[in-house]
């Protein structure tokens, strides 16, 4: 019910009341009456809910989250590599 879909703005009407968004290949119209006039422009990422743009998606924040996730995965991989080396060191069959 409260789900909203991330979409990309491909067109804004002259009166700034409507826009067209692309949601992974599907295009549809969305109402802009909940947004301030200059807020939404072509190329922006927005959240779409029951036919309305409810807010813009902050690209920098989205990228910062994705960056955090990559770093966490890096760290985990690093940890696992270290553990694998240690286990290898302790292996009695080593060098046999």
């Amino acid at each position: 019910m409260c789900l909203s879909i991330p979409s990309k703005v491909v067109k804004v009407s002259d009166d700034k009341m409507m826009c067209t968004v692309d949601t992974m290949g599907v295009q549809r119209d969305a109402n802009l009456m909940m947004m301030d006039d200059e807020d939404v422009n072509i190329g922006d990422y927005v959240l779409l809910h029951i036919g309305f743009v409810m807010n813009k998606i902050d690209e920098e924040e989205a990228l910062a989250s994705i960056e955090t996730y990559r770093e966490i995965l890096e760290l985990m991989n690093e940890d696992e590599r270290k553990r694998a080396i240690l286990e290898d060191d302790e292996c009695p069959a080593r060098g046999a």
Binding site: M1, C2, L3, S4, P6, S7, K8, D22, T23, M24, N31, M33, M34, M35, D36, Y45, L47, H49, I50, G51, F52, M54, N55, K56, I57, D58, E59, E61, A62, L63, A64, S65, I66, Y69, I72, L73, M76
Partner: protein, 380 residues
């Protein structure tokens, strides 16, 4: 790196990242002094949690409590009866959002009303009412409005357009409810079974899209006055895992704060234009009766008196039933929402009560706890 639409989907559902957070949570949870019950308030979160099997990824000392944030599930039967009665009036077209279609009232669902000849239409967006009204000038179009703060401003835009464009044949039946009041109720309420205050909820995962509109500010009092941390999180599984990790860290570090995980769309103030729209047309009702929970003060909205001529509850006052209708006595939805029981503990879960024949509120929509458990199997 520049952001692609694909990233907004894939990166927040990535299995490896989910596993990485599971490890971090398990590690941090070893330092918890007491077990944690975390309530995800919103039904969208409940759905994600069950769909991605997140309870299985939690250490033993972390439990989810599934909250009341599904607007379809919490609709008491008497209000569904209102929709049914309105739909049955001559020359009325009842319009609502798709989620309402199967919800049974005491006479049946809106689907049943339609089978009996009523003109009931399910729309994707409230704005479609304008087209329907223009195409049917001799009929009254009644929009049965449901939803939390997420959906309320869209109804407000429709009210505004009806007034501005002078459309004479659209009325509203308002069932909008608000989140902070019911969260407070869940902490405050005296447990009916053991006559003590129920303090099962240690922390909240704050709803995603309610917060887009209202801003994180609406949760200020929970850490400050109630001693319950709130982390507003997005709907994707990585969002939820990161949100839980942030909550656990607060407990480990002895903090009690309001934090936002879902920073890509939620800020402290929210969408001010949407908030203005809500305030312009709506005011609080004294009480709203939540299905499964009972009366919650100040948790429902209605049209302001100056717009009473648009209010179907006023215009059709004489035909609308007023009696409250209780839930089935075996249904334990109230306990589930308070974190005192899990769906499988209900004696009719999966037998008499199923998504196709829901008996209680939590089985009504896929965002309800019982329906999510039913759909995604015996995960716990």
């Amino acid at each position: 790196m520049s952001l692609e639409l694909k990233n907004l989907y894939d990166d927040f559902r990535d299995g490896e990242t989910i596993k990485a957070y599971a490890k971090i949570i398990a590690e941090d949870a070893k330092r918890l002094k007491t077990p944690l019950n975390i309530m995800e308030v919103c039904g969208g979160h409940t759905h994600t949690i069950m769909k991605f099997g997140l309870p299985q990824l939690m250490p033993e000392n972390i439990t989810f409590i599934h909250g009341p944030g599904c607007p379809v599930c919490i609709m008491p039967k008497e209000r569904i009866d209102h929709a049914y009665v309105l739909a049955m009036q001559p020359d009325v077209i009842l319009v609502t959002l798709g989620d309402m279609i199967k919800v049974p009232g005491s006479n049946g669902s809106l689907q049943d009303a339609r089978a009996k000849g009523a003109d009931v239409r399910f729309v994707y967006s409230p704005m479609e009412c304008i087209t329907i009204a223009r195409e049917n000038p001799d009929k009254k179009v009644i929009f049965f409005a449901i939803g939390f703060e997420t959906t309320t401003p869209m109804t407000a835009v429709l009210v505004e357009q009806v007034i501005k464009l002078g459309i004479p044949n659209i009325l509203f039946h308002i069932n909008h409810v608000t989140v902070p009041e019911v969260m407070a109720e869940l902490i405050d309420s005296r447990d009916v079974h053991i006559d003590s205050y129920n303090n099962q909820i240690d922390a909240f995962i704050g709803p995603s899209h309610v917060s887009v509109i209202s801003g994180a500010k609406i949760y200020d009092k929970f850490p400050k006055e109630y001693g319950r941390p709130v982390v507003v999180s997005g709907f994707e599984p990585v969002d939820v895992m990161q949100g839980i990790s942030m909550i656990v860290k607060q407990f480990v570090e002895d903090r009690c704060e309001l934090e936002v995980q879902y920073k890509r769309v939620v800020n402290y103030e929210g969408n001010l234009k949407a908030q203005e729209l809500i305030e312009r047309y709506f005011e609080k009702m004294d009480l709203f009766r939540w299905r499964g929970l009972g009366n919650v003060p100040d948790s429902g909205l209605k049209l302001k008196d100056e717009f009473a001529s648009l209010d179907a509850e006023v215009v059709y006052r004489d035909v609308l039933p007023i009696a409250e209708i209780e839930d089935h006595k075996l249904c334990i939805c109230g306990d589930i929402l308070r974190g005192m029981a899990k769906p499988p503990e209900c004696t009719i879960f999966g037998t008499a009560c199923k998504p196709t024949t829901p008996i209680g509120s939590c089985m009504v929509s896929s965002e309800g706890a019982c329906a999510a458990y039913y759909k995604y199997g015996n995960l716990l």
